[in-house]
């Protein structure tokens, strides 16, 4: 097996490392790299992650590919008796604002994101007569206020996605002061963003976006050129830890043998 890896491999591996053992999460089904990252984490460093899939299974069988469950009826039937538990979609929606504060993290793939972490999956231009209509936020607008933190990913880091100010706020960003004021301080909003160039977060003195690490195959200049605002790049910014042999092997043979993650490079 080759130790070469693609940018999307780096994204999935980095996403997976944002996940801690013993946390609880779910993913939407239209963000393939996130689903694959969860599987990879469960197969490597986070075996006790509690993971809802499809709003129903809790910790589906690791031997069954998650996409196969949804598309192969026999696999669907078999998976039933191997999951660690079952819940209901309605119950999952209760967890979002219920008394238990259940969800540790969620994922967002923003169409636009700005220096404060506000995301836009709605429109460019006048909201009533938009120049460009994105598919819509689905849960993206909710989970920043429903999961303890949000992990974002952007398959192609460019200046159309990373803008100084989003045209429309579909989901509120990190904004710790605002969160305190409206009583949402238990929810940090977007905590990190994984792109094909590096990893970003909001741990700068001003709370705006900064570069946490740069992938080994990209450069400071590339990130700067492909970002539509002045983001903070510390002088000693480290290189992202590359995927290990084990991670790559698990990813390719078990977590995503069908290469579902590549849907994210094709469709944006």
């Amino acid at each position: 097996m080759s130790s070469e890896y693609t940018p999307i491999d780096q994204i999935v591996v980095s996403l997976s490392r944002e996940i801690n053992n013993n946390e609880t999460c779910y993913t939407g089904i239209a963000i393939p790299s996130a689903v694959v990252a969860v599987q990879l984490a469960r197969m490597t460093h986070a075996p006790n992650l509690k993971f809802f899939y499809g709003g129903y299974w809790i910790n589906p069988d690791l031997d069954v590919d998650l996409f196969t469950i949804m598309t192969d009826t026999e696999a669907f039937r078999n998976s039933i008796s191997k999951a660690q538990g079952f819940s209901h979609l309605i119950r999952l929606y209760e967890y979002w604002e219920g008394p238990k504060h259940t969800l540790s993290f969620g994922f967002i793939r923003p169409a636009q994101i700005d220096q404060f972490g506000n995301i836009n999956n709605s429109v460019i231009g006048d909201p009533n007569h938009p120049k460009f209509r994105f598919p819509g936020g689905a849960a993206a607008g909710d989970i920043s206020n429903a999961c303890s933190r949000v992990i974002a990913y952007v398959p192609r880091h460019d200046a159309r996605t990373f803008v100084e100010k989003v045209d429309f706020i579909t989901g509120k960003g990190a904004s710790p002061e605002w969160r305190k004021r409206v009583g949402l301080d238990n929810y940090t909003g977007i905590a990190s963003i994984i792109t094909d160039l590096g990893i970003l977060d909001f741990n700068s003195p001003s709370g705006t976006m900064r570069v946490r690490s740069i992938h080994e195959f990209s450069t400071t200049e590339e990130i700067r050129e492909n970002t539509g605002f002045d983001l903070e790049i510390p002088p000693d910014v480290p290189t992202t830890e590359v995927p290990t042999q084990v991670e790559l092997e698990v990813l390719r043979t078990k977590a995503d043998p069908l290469e579902i993650r590549n849907f994210d490079s094709r469709n944006r």
């Binding site: 089904i29 239209a30 393939p32 899939y53 499809g54 709003g55 129903y56 299974w57 949804m70 598309t71 192969d72 009826t73 669907f76 039937r77 039933i80 079952f86 209901h88 979609l89 309605i90 929606y93 979002w96 604002e97 709605s122 909201p127 009533n128 007569h129 938009p130 120049k131 460009f132 209509r133 598919p135 819509g136 936020g137 689905a138 849960a139 993206a140 607008g141 909710d142 989970i143 920043s144 206020n145 429903a146 429309f168 706020i169 579909t170 989901g171 509120k172 904004s175 605002w178 409206v182 009583g183 949402l184 579902i260 849907f263 469709n267």
Partner: protein
């Protein structure tokens, strides 16, 4: 009493312009596609549609300009790409009024409609610009905390696809499926319920399903109209019976790009002789 009849007759009878209609299913699963196709065949226009996550159902209807107002949290072809007619209808033709919800706010609005409360408070919408452009979303304060109050959704009619229905109008769907609540949510809040099913069964067969551990997805109290529509969710998926037909969705996505090819799609898959799926 429940009315059982063919899809085309029931569509002719109950789906009329200006009706507020909710669709069951989400994201290429459990969509009432046979009814969507029949709406297109009968050239019904001016609909007001509510669906949590729209896909081929919505894009087809927008392609023939059947929808006047659309409520959803997302419209796209998951894993495949953008929904072409959704973009065209909004960006170029401005032929549809699109009201974007977040997923949770729309779920809560369905739930509020089902229990008969007129509006409901939630917090995940705080900070979203949706609150600024939606005049029916209201910022309120309760005991010193801020909430967004959204109105209940109460459609005139809900349309869902399910597994089987008996003659009494009880509707069945096997347990341990992932997705049935994507259909019960938009159904329980509606004034009337139209269910298409893979097959109509006898009351005795229904009781056998119950004995074998199934429950009813809808009871005879819930259902108003039932029609048999084998593979009626196709090309959306209907686990555990059939998967989403991703090949067909990709074909659609390609043919939707140009008006000429979209017409070919309609001829072949909707107006043409019904073929075995």
């Amino acid at each position: 009493m429940v009315v059982i009849g063919p899809v085309d007759e029931l569509v002719r009878k109950i789906i009329t312009p200006k009706k507020k209609i909710s669709f069951g299913g989400a994201a290429l699963f459990l969509k009432p596609m046979e009814v969507v196709r029949e709406i297109i065949r009968q050239e019904i226009k001016g609909l007001k549609i509510y669906t949590l996550i729209g896909d081929l159902d919505i894009d087809l209807l927008l392609g023939v300009n059947a929808i006047k107002e659309l409520h959803a949290s997302y419209v796209g072809l998951p894993m495949v790409g953008m929904a072409k007619h959704f973009r065209t209808a909004i960006e170029k033709e401005q032929s549809v009024v699109f009201k974007e919800w977040t997923e949770l706010s729309m779920v809560r609005a369905f739930q509020a409609g089902a229990i008969g409360t007129p509006a409901i408070m939630l917090r995940t919408l705080l900070g979203s610009d949706l609150v600024k452009i939606r005049d029916d979303f209201e910022e309120v304060t309760y005991k010193g905390k801020m909430y967004i109050q959204v109105p209940a959704i109460v459609p005139d009619l809900a349309i869902v696809h399910a597994y089987a229905a008996d003659k009494n109008g009880n509707v069945y769907y096997p347990k341990h499926h992932a997705l049935d609540e994507f259909s019960t949510l938009p159904a329980h809040c509606a004034k009337e319920l139209f269910v298409t099913v893979e097959k109509i069964i006898t009351n005795e067969e229904g009781r056998d399903l119950i004995k074998n551990g199934q429950s009813t997805m809808f009871s005879s109290i819930d259902t108003d109209y039932i029609a048999e529509a084998p593979r009626g969710a196709w090309p959306s998926g209907f686990p555990p019976f059939y998967a989403s037909d991703m090949g067909h969705i990709m074909t659609y996505s390609g043919m939707a790009q140009m008006p000429e090819t979209f017409q070919m799609y309609l001829q072949e898959y909707i107006f043409g002789e019904k073929e075995e799926n």
